[in-house]
Subunit: 248 residues, 2 copies
DNA sequence: AGAACTTTAAATGTCTGACAAATGGATTTT
DNA sequence: AAAATCCATTTGTCAGACATTTAAAGTTCT
Protein backbone atom coordinates (compact mmCIF):
# COMPACT_ATOMS: atom_id res chain seq x y z
CA UNK A 1 0.00 0.00 0.00
CA UNK A 2 2.55 2.58 1.00
CA UNK A 3 5.61 0.82 -0.27
CA UNK A 4 5.92 -0.95 3.02
CA UNK A 5 6.32 -4.43 1.66
CA UNK A 6 9.95 -3.90 0.76
CA UNK A 7 12.17 -6.90 1.10
CA UNK A 8 14.98 -4.85 2.58
CA UNK A 9 15.15 -4.10 6.23
CA UNK A 10 12.71 -1.69 7.78
CA UNK A 11 10.96 -3.96 10.17
CA UNK A 12 8.57 -1.31 11.38
CA UNK A 13 7.22 -0.92 7.84
CA UNK A 14 6.72 -4.65 7.50
CA UNK A 15 5.00 -4.92 10.86
CA UNK A 16 2.79 -1.96 10.03
CA UNK A 17 1.87 -3.58 6.71
CA UNK A 18 1.10 -6.82 8.50
CA UNK A 19 -1.25 -5.19 10.98
CA UNK A 20 -2.76 -3.01 8.28
CA UNK A 21 -3.63 -6.09 6.28
CA UNK A 22 -5.29 -7.58 9.32
CA UNK A 23 -7.43 -4.48 9.65
CA UNK A 24 -8.32 -4.17 5.97
CA UNK A 25 -9.12 -7.86 5.69
CA UNK A 26 -11.31 -7.67 8.74
CA UNK A 27 -9.22 -10.00 10.87
CA UNK A 28 -9.04 -7.15 13.34
CA UNK A 29 -12.38 -5.46 13.78
CA UNK A 30 -13.30 -1.94 14.78
CA UNK A 31 -12.59 -1.04 18.41
CA UNK A 32 -10.73 -4.28 18.95
CA UNK A 33 -7.70 -3.89 21.15
CA UNK A 34 -4.33 -4.87 19.76
CA UNK A 35 -1.87 -6.68 22.00
CA UNK A 36 0.26 -4.38 24.13
CA UNK A 37 3.48 -3.06 22.66
CA UNK A 38 5.45 -5.51 24.77
CA UNK A 39 3.38 -8.44 23.51
CA UNK A 40 3.63 -7.30 19.91
CA UNK A 41 7.38 -6.99 20.31
CA UNK A 42 7.43 -10.55 21.58
CA UNK A 43 5.15 -11.80 18.80
CA UNK A 44 7.11 -10.20 15.98
CA UNK A 45 10.46 -10.86 17.58
CA UNK A 46 11.52 -7.23 17.65
CA UNK A 47 12.08 -4.57 20.25
CA UNK A 48 9.47 -2.23 21.61
CA UNK A 49 10.74 0.89 19.82
CA UNK A 50 10.38 -0.93 16.52
CA UNK A 51 6.83 -1.90 17.36
CA UNK A 52 6.12 1.66 18.36
CA UNK A 53 7.37 2.97 15.03
CA UNK A 54 5.03 0.55 13.29
CA UNK A 55 2.10 1.69 15.43
CA UNK A 56 2.86 5.34 14.73
CA UNK A 57 2.70 4.59 11.02
CA UNK A 58 -0.77 3.17 11.48
CA UNK A 59 -1.78 6.06 13.71
CA UNK A 60 -0.71 8.48 10.97
CA UNK A 61 -3.29 6.84 8.71
CA UNK A 62 -5.93 6.96 11.45
CA UNK A 63 -6.11 3.17 11.39
CA UNK A 64 -5.54 2.94 15.14
CA UNK A 65 -5.86 5.16 18.16
CA UNK A 66 -4.01 4.74 21.44
CA UNK A 67 -4.95 5.30 25.05
CA UNK A 68 -2.65 5.34 28.00
CA UNK A 69 -3.04 3.72 31.36
CA UNK A 70 -4.56 0.49 32.56
CA UNK A 71 -6.96 -0.97 30.02
CA UNK A 72 -5.23 1.30 27.54
CA UNK A 73 -3.45 0.27 24.40
CA UNK A 74 -3.91 0.49 20.68
CA UNK A 75 -7.41 0.06 19.26
CA UNK A 76 -8.59 -0.34 15.72
CA UNK A 77 -10.07 3.00 14.84
CA UNK A 78 -13.36 3.46 13.06
CA UNK A 79 -12.20 5.64 10.21
CA UNK A 80 -14.63 8.54 10.16
CA UNK A 81 -15.43 10.59 7.09
CA UNK A 82 -14.11 13.60 8.98
CA UNK A 83 -10.68 12.06 9.48
CA UNK A 84 -10.62 10.81 5.92
CA UNK A 85 -11.43 14.31 4.62
CA UNK A 86 -8.29 15.68 6.21
CA UNK A 87 -6.01 13.09 4.74
CA UNK A 88 -7.69 13.30 1.39
CA UNK A 89 -7.17 17.04 1.28
CA UNK A 90 -3.52 16.87 2.35
CA UNK A 91 -2.79 14.20 -0.23
CA UNK A 92 -4.66 15.91 -3.05
CA UNK A 93 -3.08 19.26 -2.32
CA UNK A 94 0.41 17.82 -2.39
CA UNK A 95 -0.32 15.82 -5.51
CA UNK A 96 -1.27 18.98 -7.36
CA UNK A 97 1.53 21.14 -6.03
CA UNK A 98 4.30 18.58 -6.47
CA UNK A 99 3.45 17.16 -9.88
CA UNK A 100 3.15 20.25 -11.98
CA UNK A 101 -0.46 19.49 -12.72
CA UNK A 102 -1.56 22.30 -14.95
CA UNK A 103 -4.47 24.42 -13.97
CA UNK A 104 -6.69 23.21 -16.80
CA UNK A 105 -6.29 19.58 -15.82
CA UNK A 106 -7.04 20.20 -12.16
CA UNK A 107 -9.94 22.44 -13.06
CA UNK A 108 -11.37 19.95 -15.49
CA UNK A 109 -11.28 17.20 -12.90
CA UNK A 110 -12.78 19.36 -10.21
CA UNK A 111 -15.70 20.55 -12.30
CA UNK A 112 -16.31 17.17 -13.89
CA UNK A 113 -16.70 15.70 -10.43
CA UNK A 114 -18.80 18.56 -9.22
CA UNK A 115 -21.09 18.21 -12.21
CA UNK A 116 -21.53 14.59 -11.23
CA UNK A 117 -23.05 15.78 -7.97
CA UNK A 118 -25.14 18.51 -9.48
CA UNK A 119 -28.23 16.57 -10.55
CA UNK A 120 -28.37 14.74 -7.24
CA UNK A 121 -27.98 17.97 -5.33
CA UNK A 122 -30.68 19.65 -7.38
CA UNK A 123 -32.97 16.81 -6.45
CA UNK A 124 -32.17 16.48 -2.76
CA UNK A 125 -30.61 19.68 -1.39
CA UNK A 126 -32.20 20.79 1.86
CA UNK A 127 -33.20 24.33 2.80
CA UNK A 128 -30.09 24.40 4.97
CA UNK A 129 -27.78 23.76 2.06
CA UNK A 130 -29.46 26.47 0.09
CA UNK A 131 -29.24 28.90 3.00
CA UNK A 132 -25.52 28.20 3.36
CA UNK A 133 -24.98 28.87 -0.30
CA UNK A 134 -26.96 32.10 -0.19
CA UNK A 135 -25.00 33.24 2.84
CA UNK A 136 -21.70 32.56 1.10
CA UNK A 137 -22.84 34.38 -2.01
CA UNK A 138 -23.70 37.34 0.16
CA UNK A 139 -20.31 37.27 1.84
CA UNK A 140 -18.59 37.09 -1.52
CA UNK A 141 -20.35 40.21 -2.69
CA UNK A 142 -18.99 42.30 0.18
CA UNK A 143 -16.39 44.74 -1.12
CA UNK A 144 -13.72 44.62 1.60
CA UNK A 145 -13.15 40.89 1.41
CA UNK A 146 -9.56 39.64 1.09
CA UNK A 147 -8.66 37.27 -1.71
CA UNK A 148 -8.08 34.46 0.79
CA UNK A 149 -11.46 34.97 2.40
CA UNK A 150 -13.08 35.12 -1.00
CA UNK A 151 -11.51 31.78 -1.93
CA UNK A 152 -12.45 30.25 1.41
CA UNK A 153 -16.03 31.33 0.88
CA UNK A 154 -15.88 29.90 -2.60
CA UNK A 155 -14.86 26.53 -1.15
CA UNK A 156 -17.63 26.70 1.44
CA UNK A 157 -20.17 27.46 -1.28
CA UNK A 158 -19.16 24.53 -3.42
CA UNK A 159 -19.00 22.18 -0.47
CA UNK A 160 -22.56 23.07 0.39
CA UNK A 161 -23.53 22.32 -3.19
CA UNK A 162 -21.80 18.96 -3.06
CA UNK A 163 -23.14 18.08 0.37
CA UNK A 164 -26.59 18.80 -0.99
CA UNK A 165 -26.38 15.52 -2.87
CA UNK A 166 -26.72 13.83 0.49
CA UNK A 167 -24.14 11.21 -0.36
CA UNK A 168 -21.26 11.12 2.14
CA UNK A 169 -19.09 9.12 -0.24
CA UNK A 170 -19.42 11.79 -2.89
CA UNK A 171 -18.81 14.53 -0.33
CA UNK A 172 -15.66 12.78 0.76
CA UNK A 173 -14.35 12.39 -2.76
CA UNK A 174 -15.18 15.94 -3.69
CA UNK A 175 -13.65 17.40 -0.57
CA UNK A 176 -10.25 16.50 -1.95
CA UNK A 177 -10.94 17.88 -5.38
CA UNK A 178 -12.46 21.15 -4.23
CA UNK A 179 -10.13 21.96 -1.35
CA UNK A 180 -7.00 20.90 -3.17
CA UNK A 181 -7.77 23.52 -5.79
CA UNK A 182 -7.75 26.33 -3.29
CA UNK A 183 -4.00 26.97 -3.32
CA UNK A 184 -4.19 27.21 -7.10
CA UNK A 185 -7.20 29.49 -6.91
CA UNK A 186 -5.40 31.65 -4.38
CA UNK A 187 -2.86 32.44 -7.06
CA UNK A 188 -5.53 34.29 -8.96
CA UNK A 189 -5.89 37.93 -8.06
CA UNK A 190 -9.58 38.53 -8.28
CA UNK A 191 -10.46 41.89 -9.69
CA UNK A 192 -13.70 43.54 -8.73
CA UNK A 193 -15.02 42.69 -12.16
CA UNK A 194 -14.14 38.99 -11.98
CA UNK A 195 -15.63 38.72 -8.53
CA UNK A 196 -18.81 40.21 -9.88
CA UNK A 197 -19.00 37.56 -12.59
CA UNK A 198 -18.31 34.72 -10.18
CA UNK A 199 -20.82 35.95 -7.63
CA UNK A 200 -23.43 36.21 -10.37
CA UNK A 201 -22.72 32.64 -11.44
CA UNK A 202 -22.93 31.47 -7.85
CA UNK A 203 -26.24 33.24 -7.42
CA UNK A 204 -27.43 31.56 -10.59
CA UNK A 205 -26.36 28.21 -9.22
CA UNK A 206 -28.29 28.83 -6.04
CA UNK A 207 -31.32 29.86 -8.06
CA UNK A 208 -31.18 26.69 -10.13
CA UNK A 209 -30.72 24.59 -7.01
CA UNK A 210 -33.68 26.30 -5.43
CA UNK A 211 -35.80 25.55 -8.51
CA UNK A 212 -34.47 21.98 -8.47
CA UNK A 213 -33.35 22.58 -12.01
CA UNK A 214 -30.60 20.05 -12.62
CA UNK A 215 -29.90 21.14 -16.17
CA UNK A 216 -29.65 24.75 -15.04
CA UNK A 217 -27.11 23.84 -12.38
CA UNK A 218 -25.10 21.91 -14.92
CA UNK A 219 -25.09 24.81 -17.35
CA UNK A 220 -23.94 27.25 -14.71
CA UNK A 221 -21.16 24.93 -13.63
CA UNK A 222 -19.89 24.70 -17.17
CA UNK A 223 -19.90 28.48 -17.43
CA UNK A 224 -18.06 28.74 -14.14
CA UNK A 225 -15.46 26.20 -15.23
CA UNK A 226 -14.89 28.03 -18.51
CA UNK A 227 -14.67 31.39 -16.81
CA UNK A 228 -12.22 30.13 -14.20
CA UNK A 229 -9.88 28.72 -16.82
CA UNK A 230 -10.18 31.90 -18.90
CA UNK A 231 -9.35 33.98 -15.85
CA UNK A 232 -6.29 31.89 -15.18
CA UNK A 233 -5.09 32.06 -18.75
CA UNK A 234 -5.51 35.81 -18.89
CA UNK A 235 -3.49 36.13 -15.69
CA UNK A 236 -0.88 33.76 -17.06
CA UNK A 237 -0.45 35.71 -20.25
CA UNK A 238 -0.22 38.95 -18.34
CA UNK A 239 2.56 37.48 -16.25
CA UNK A 240 4.51 35.86 -19.02
CA UNK A 241 4.39 38.88 -21.26
CA UNK A 242 3.96 41.76 -18.85
CA UNK A 243 5.35 44.38 -21.23
CA UNK A 244 3.50 43.36 -24.37
CA UNK A 245 0.00 43.95 -23.07
CA UNK A 246 -0.13 47.37 -21.34
CA UNK A 247 -0.74 49.48 -24.40
CA UNK A 248 -3.47 47.19 -25.76
CA UNK B 1 -5.00 17.18 9.54
CA UNK B 2 -4.89 13.83 11.22
CA UNK B 3 -5.74 14.90 14.72
CA UNK B 4 -2.12 15.49 15.40
CA UNK B 5 -2.45 18.96 16.81
CA UNK B 6 -3.66 17.74 20.19
CA UNK B 7 -2.60 19.82 23.12
CA UNK B 8 -1.89 16.75 25.23
CA UNK B 9 1.39 15.00 25.10
CA UNK B 10 2.34 12.95 22.08
CA UNK B 11 5.37 14.84 21.01
CA UNK B 12 5.96 12.73 17.94
CA UNK B 13 2.54 13.72 16.59
CA UNK B 14 3.27 17.38 17.17
CA UNK B 15 6.67 17.16 15.52
CA UNK B 16 5.18 15.27 12.59
CA UNK B 17 2.51 17.93 12.21
CA UNK B 18 5.15 20.62 12.34
CA UNK B 19 7.23 19.07 9.59
CA UNK B 20 4.13 18.23 7.57
CA UNK B 21 3.10 21.87 7.65
CA UNK B 22 6.53 22.84 6.40
CA UNK B 23 6.12 20.48 3.48
CA UNK B 24 2.56 21.45 2.61
CA UNK B 25 3.34 25.15 2.87
CA UNK B 26 6.35 24.72 0.65
CA UNK B 27 8.90 25.71 3.26
CA UNK B 28 10.49 22.34 2.58
CA UNK B 29 10.67 21.57 -1.11
CA UNK B 30 10.71 18.29 -2.98
CA UNK B 31 13.92 16.26 -2.62
CA UNK B 32 15.20 18.58 0.06
CA UNK B 33 17.02 16.80 2.82
CA UNK B 34 15.75 17.16 6.35
CA UNK B 35 18.25 17.53 9.18
CA UNK B 36 19.53 14.23 10.55
CA UNK B 37 17.58 12.55 13.31
CA UNK B 38 20.15 13.69 15.84
CA UNK B 39 19.86 17.29 14.68
CA UNK B 40 16.07 17.19 14.66
CA UNK B 41 16.16 15.78 18.17
CA UNK B 42 18.34 18.69 19.21
CA UNK B 43 16.15 21.23 17.41
CA UNK B 44 12.89 20.01 18.89
CA UNK B 45 14.40 19.26 22.28
CA UNK B 46 13.44 15.61 22.30
CA UNK B 47 15.19 12.28 22.02
CA UNK B 48 15.97 10.46 18.84
CA UNK B 49 13.30 7.75 19.22
CA UNK B 50 10.68 10.46 19.47
CA UNK B 51 11.96 12.09 16.30
CA UNK B 52 11.97 8.71 14.61
CA UNK B 53 8.36 8.10 15.51
CA UNK B 54 7.50 11.44 13.97
CA UNK B 55 9.41 10.61 10.80
CA UNK B 56 7.69 7.23 10.53
CA UNK B 57 4.35 8.99 10.65
CA UNK B 58 5.39 11.11 7.70
CA UNK B 59 6.80 8.11 5.88
CA UNK B 60 3.46 6.35 6.28
CA UNK B 61 1.88 9.18 4.32
CA UNK B 62 4.62 9.04 1.70
CA UNK B 63 5.62 12.58 2.57
CA UNK B 64 9.24 11.60 3.11
CA UNK B 65 11.56 8.78 2.15
CA UNK B 66 14.72 7.78 3.99
CA UNK B 67 18.08 6.48 2.92
CA UNK B 68 20.78 5.03 5.06
CA UNK B 69 24.46 5.75 5.08
CA UNK B 70 26.58 8.81 4.48
CA UNK B 71 24.71 11.50 2.60
CA UNK B 72 21.60 9.61 3.63
CA UNK B 73 18.76 10.92 5.69
CA UNK B 74 15.13 11.86 5.26
CA UNK B 75 14.11 13.59 2.06
CA UNK B 76 10.90 15.28 1.09
CA UNK B 77 9.22 12.85 -1.25
CA UNK B 78 7.59 13.82 -4.51
CA UNK B 79 4.18 12.30 -3.92
CA UNK B 80 3.48 10.29 -7.06
CA UNK B 81 0.03 9.47 -8.35
CA UNK B 82 0.93 5.81 -7.94
CA UNK B 83 1.63 6.16 -4.23
CA UNK B 84 -1.43 8.30 -3.76
CA UNK B 85 -3.60 5.65 -5.47
CA UNK B 86 -2.64 3.08 -2.88
CA UNK B 87 -3.47 5.28 0.07
CA UNK B 88 -6.63 6.47 -1.53
CA UNK B 89 -7.78 2.91 -2.07
CA UNK B 90 -6.96 1.78 1.45
CA UNK B 91 -8.75 4.76 2.93
CA UNK B 92 -11.80 4.47 0.71
CA UNK B 93 -12.11 0.74 1.28
CA UNK B 94 -11.99 1.15 5.04
CA UNK B 95 -14.41 4.05 4.95
CA UNK B 96 -16.99 1.91 3.19
CA UNK B 97 -16.47 -1.21 5.26
CA UNK B 98 -16.36 0.54 8.63
CA UNK B 99 -19.19 3.00 8.27
CA UNK B 100 -22.04 0.82 7.17
CA UNK B 101 -22.31 2.69 3.91
CA UNK B 102 -25.15 1.00 2.14
CA UNK B 103 -24.59 -0.45 -1.26
CA UNK B 104 -26.85 2.03 -3.04
CA UNK B 105 -24.96 5.01 -1.65
CA UNK B 106 -21.57 3.63 -2.60
CA UNK B 107 -22.85 2.58 -6.00
CA UNK B 108 -24.44 5.93 -6.64
CA UNK B 109 -21.22 7.74 -5.84
CA UNK B 110 -19.11 5.43 -7.92
CA UNK B 111 -21.25 5.66 -11.03
CA UNK B 112 -21.85 9.38 -10.66
CA UNK B 113 -18.10 9.90 -10.68
CA UNK B 114 -17.58 7.50 -13.52
CA UNK B 115 -20.21 9.25 -15.57
CA UNK B 116 -18.27 12.45 -14.99
CA UNK B 117 -15.35 10.85 -16.84
CA UNK B 118 -17.42 9.31 -19.60
CA UNK B 119 -17.72 12.23 -22.01
CA UNK B 120 -14.03 13.04 -21.68
CA UNK B 121 -13.09 9.44 -22.21
CA UNK B 122 -15.32 9.14 -25.26
CA UNK B 123 -13.52 12.13 -26.68
CA UNK B 124 -9.95 11.23 -25.86
CA UNK B 125 -9.58 7.49 -25.27
CA UNK B 126 -6.65 5.99 -27.15
CA UNK B 127 -6.61 2.73 -29.08
CA UNK B 128 -4.75 1.24 -26.13
CA UNK B 129 -7.52 2.01 -23.69
CA UNK B 130 -10.03 0.50 -26.05
CA UNK B 131 -7.91 -2.60 -26.52
CA UNK B 132 -7.60 -3.06 -22.77
CA UNK B 133 -11.35 -2.83 -22.40
CA UNK B 134 -11.97 -5.31 -25.20
CA UNK B 135 -9.47 -7.72 -23.65
CA UNK B 136 -11.17 -7.50 -20.27
CA UNK B 137 -14.59 -8.02 -21.82
CA UNK B 138 -13.24 -11.12 -23.50
CA UNK B 139 -11.81 -12.42 -20.23
CA UNK B 140 -15.10 -11.78 -18.48
CA UNK B 141 -16.95 -13.89 -21.01
CA UNK B 142 -14.83 -16.97 -20.31
CA UNK B 143 -16.91 -19.57 -18.46
CA UNK B 144 -14.44 -20.93 -15.90
CA UNK B 145 -13.63 -17.56 -14.34
CA UNK B 146 -13.85 -17.28 -10.55
CA UNK B 147 -15.96 -14.57 -8.99
CA UNK B 148 -12.86 -12.83 -7.68
CA UNK B 149 -11.22 -12.81 -11.10
CA UNK B 150 -14.44 -11.58 -12.66
CA UNK B 151 -14.54 -8.67 -10.21
CA UNK B 152 -10.85 -7.93 -10.75
CA UNK B 153 -11.43 -7.81 -14.47
CA UNK B 154 -14.40 -5.58 -13.89
CA UNK B 155 -12.18 -3.14 -12.01
CA UNK B 156 -9.56 -3.26 -14.77
CA UNK B 157 -12.22 -2.54 -17.37
CA UNK B 158 -13.56 0.47 -15.56
CA UNK B 159 -10.11 1.81 -14.81
CA UNK B 160 -9.29 1.70 -18.49
CA UNK B 161 -12.48 3.63 -19.16
CA UNK B 162 -11.57 6.23 -16.57
CA UNK B 163 -7.95 6.46 -17.68
CA UNK B 164 -9.23 7.10 -21.17
CA UNK B 165 -10.19 10.58 -20.04
CA UNK B 166 -6.48 11.31 -19.94
CA UNK B 167 -6.74 13.29 -16.74
CA UNK B 168 -4.51 11.91 -13.98
CA UNK B 169 -6.39 13.83 -11.31
CA UNK B 170 -9.63 12.17 -12.34
CA UNK B 171 -7.95 8.78 -12.52
CA UNK B 172 -6.63 9.24 -9.03
CA UNK B 173 -9.99 10.24 -7.62
CA UNK B 174 -11.80 7.45 -9.39
CA UNK B 175 -9.27 4.83 -8.35
CA UNK B 176 -10.58 5.12 -4.83
CA UNK B 177 -14.21 4.97 -5.81
CA UNK B 178 -13.87 2.05 -8.20
CA UNK B 179 -11.46 -0.11 -6.23
CA UNK B 180 -13.12 0.50 -2.90
CA UNK B 181 -16.30 -0.98 -4.31
CA UNK B 182 -14.63 -4.28 -5.09
CA UNK B 183 -15.08 -5.86 -1.65
CA UNK B 184 -18.76 -4.99 -1.85
CA UNK B 185 -18.99 -6.37 -5.38
CA UNK B 186 -17.24 -9.52 -4.27
CA UNK B 187 -20.19 -10.19 -2.00
CA UNK B 188 -22.34 -10.67 -5.05
CA UNK B 189 -22.41 -14.18 -6.42
CA UNK B 190 -22.54 -13.70 -10.14
CA UNK B 191 -24.73 -16.18 -11.88
CA UNK B 192 -24.06 -17.11 -15.47
CA UNK B 193 -27.06 -15.03 -16.45
CA UNK B 194 -25.96 -11.90 -14.58
CA UNK B 195 -22.47 -12.18 -16.00
CA UNK B 196 -23.97 -12.33 -19.44
CA UNK B 197 -25.85 -9.11 -18.85
CA UNK B 198 -22.83 -7.33 -17.45
CA UNK B 199 -20.55 -8.48 -20.24
CA UNK B 200 -23.08 -7.26 -22.77
CA UNK B 201 -23.20 -3.87 -21.10
CA UNK B 202 -19.42 -3.71 -21.03
CA UNK B 203 -19.28 -4.58 -24.70
CA UNK B 204 -21.82 -1.85 -25.34
CA UNK B 205 -19.66 0.60 -23.42
CA UNK B 206 -16.64 -0.33 -25.49
CA UNK B 207 -18.68 0.10 -28.66
CA UNK B 208 -19.84 3.53 -27.63
CA UNK B 209 -16.30 4.51 -26.63
CA UNK B 210 -15.04 3.31 -30.00
CA UNK B 211 -17.67 5.38 -31.76
CA UNK B 212 -16.77 8.32 -29.49
CA UNK B 213 -20.40 8.44 -28.55
CA UNK B 214 -20.47 10.22 -25.20
CA UNK B 215 -24.22 9.99 -24.78
CA UNK B 216 -24.13 6.27 -25.53
CA UNK B 217 -21.49 5.69 -22.88
CA UNK B 218 -23.53 7.64 -20.39
CA UNK B 219 -26.64 5.63 -21.14
CA UNK B 220 -24.84 2.33 -20.76
CA UNK B 221 -23.34 3.44 -17.46
CA UNK B 222 -26.77 4.28 -16.12
CA UNK B 223 -28.04 0.86 -17.18
CA UNK B 224 -25.06 -0.78 -15.52
CA UNK B 225 -25.59 1.17 -12.31
CA UNK B 226 -29.26 0.22 -12.21
CA UNK B 227 -28.54 -3.40 -12.94
CA UNK B 228 -25.84 -3.61 -10.28
CA UNK B 229 -28.13 -2.22 -7.61
CA UNK B 230 -30.95 -4.51 -8.72
CA UNK B 231 -28.63 -7.49 -8.55
CA UNK B 232 -27.60 -6.57 -5.04
CA UNK B 233 -31.16 -6.07 -3.87
CA UNK B 234 -32.26 -9.41 -5.28
CA UNK B 235 -29.41 -11.11 -3.47
CA UNK B 236 -30.22 -9.22 -0.32
CA UNK B 237 -33.85 -10.30 -0.33
CA UNK B 238 -32.87 -13.90 -1.00
CA UNK B 239 -30.60 -13.80 2.03
CA UNK B 240 -32.94 -12.05 4.41
CA UNK B 241 -35.83 -14.37 3.71
CA UNK B 242 -34.15 -17.67 2.91
CA UNK B 243 -36.77 -19.82 4.62
CA UNK B 244 -39.76 -18.23 2.97
CA UNK B 245 -38.89 -19.77 -0.34
CA UNK B 246 -37.84 -23.41 0.28
CA UNK B 247 -41.13 -24.90 1.39
CA UNK B 248 -43.18 -22.82 -0.94
C1' DA C 1 -23.24 -1.21 53.91
C1' DG C 2 -21.77 2.59 51.33
C1' DA C 3 -19.04 6.44 49.91
C1' DA C 4 -14.64 8.58 49.60
C1' DC C 5 -9.90 7.97 49.47
C1' DT C 6 -5.54 5.25 48.59
C1' DT C 7 -2.89 1.91 46.53
C1' DT C 8 -1.49 -0.75 42.79
C1' DA C 9 -0.86 -2.77 38.37
C1' DA C 10 -0.82 -2.18 33.46
C1' DA C 11 0.01 0.37 29.69
C1' DT C 12 1.81 4.07 26.80
C1' DG C 13 5.20 8.07 26.46
C1' DT C 14 9.94 9.36 26.72
C1' DC C 15 14.95 9.15 27.46
C1' DT C 16 19.74 7.35 27.43
C1' DG C 17 23.18 4.81 25.45
C1' DA C 18 24.74 1.48 22.59
C1' DC C 19 25.70 -1.34 18.48
C1' DA C 20 24.75 -2.94 13.53
C1' DA C 21 24.55 -1.92 8.76
C1' DA C 22 24.73 0.79 4.79
C1' DT C 23 26.80 4.26 2.02
C1' DG C 24 29.63 7.70 -0.09
C1' DG C 25 33.99 9.93 0.05
C1' DA C 26 38.86 10.10 1.32
C1' DT C 27 43.03 7.55 1.71
C1' DT C 28 46.19 4.23 0.70
C1' DT C 29 48.07 0.63 -2.05
C1' DT C 30 49.11 -1.63 -6.26
C1' DA D 1 45.60 5.68 -12.74
C1' DA D 2 42.90 2.09 -10.89
C1' DA D 3 41.65 -0.75 -7.18
C1' DA D 4 41.23 -1.75 -2.59
C1' DT D 5 40.78 -0.07 2.08
C1' DC D 6 39.47 2.85 5.67
C1' DC D 7 36.48 6.15 7.79
C1' DA D 8 32.85 9.31 9.03
C1' DT D 9 27.97 9.87 8.75
C1' DT D 10 23.43 8.37 9.16
C1' DT D 11 19.59 5.34 9.61
C1' DG D 12 17.97 0.80 11.72
C1' DT D 13 17.61 -1.84 15.86
C1' DC D 14 18.04 -3.16 20.56
C1' DA D 15 18.03 -3.11 25.82
C1' DG D 16 16.75 -1.09 29.92
C1' DA D 17 15.00 2.48 32.59
C1' DC D 18 11.83 6.05 34.38
C1' DA D 19 7.62 9.13 33.98
C1' DT D 20 2.77 9.51 33.37
C1' DT D 21 -1.80 8.12 32.91
C1' DT D 22 -5.64 5.31 33.88
C1' DA D 23 -8.86 2.08 35.75
C1' DA D 24 -9.64 -1.25 38.98
C1' DA D 25 -8.90 -3.29 43.49
C1' DG D 26 -8.30 -2.39 48.21
C1' DT D 27 -8.88 0.42 52.46
C1' DT D 28 -10.75 3.50 55.60
C1' DC D 29 -14.14 6.34 57.53
C1' DT D 30 -18.92 7.39 58.19
Amino acid sequence: MDGATEDKSDLSAKIAADIRDSIVSGKLIVDERLPSEAELAEDFGVSRPTVREALKRLAAQSLIRTRRGAMGGAFVNRLSFEEAYGQQITTSTLLLSMNEVDFETACEARFALERACAPLSAQRRSADHLATMRAEVHRQSQPGLSDESFCASDVAFHRALVDGAGNPVLSYQLAGAVEAMQPLMNMITFTARSREVIVALHAGLADALEARDGAGVDGRLIELADYTVALYNRLRQARHAPKAAPEA
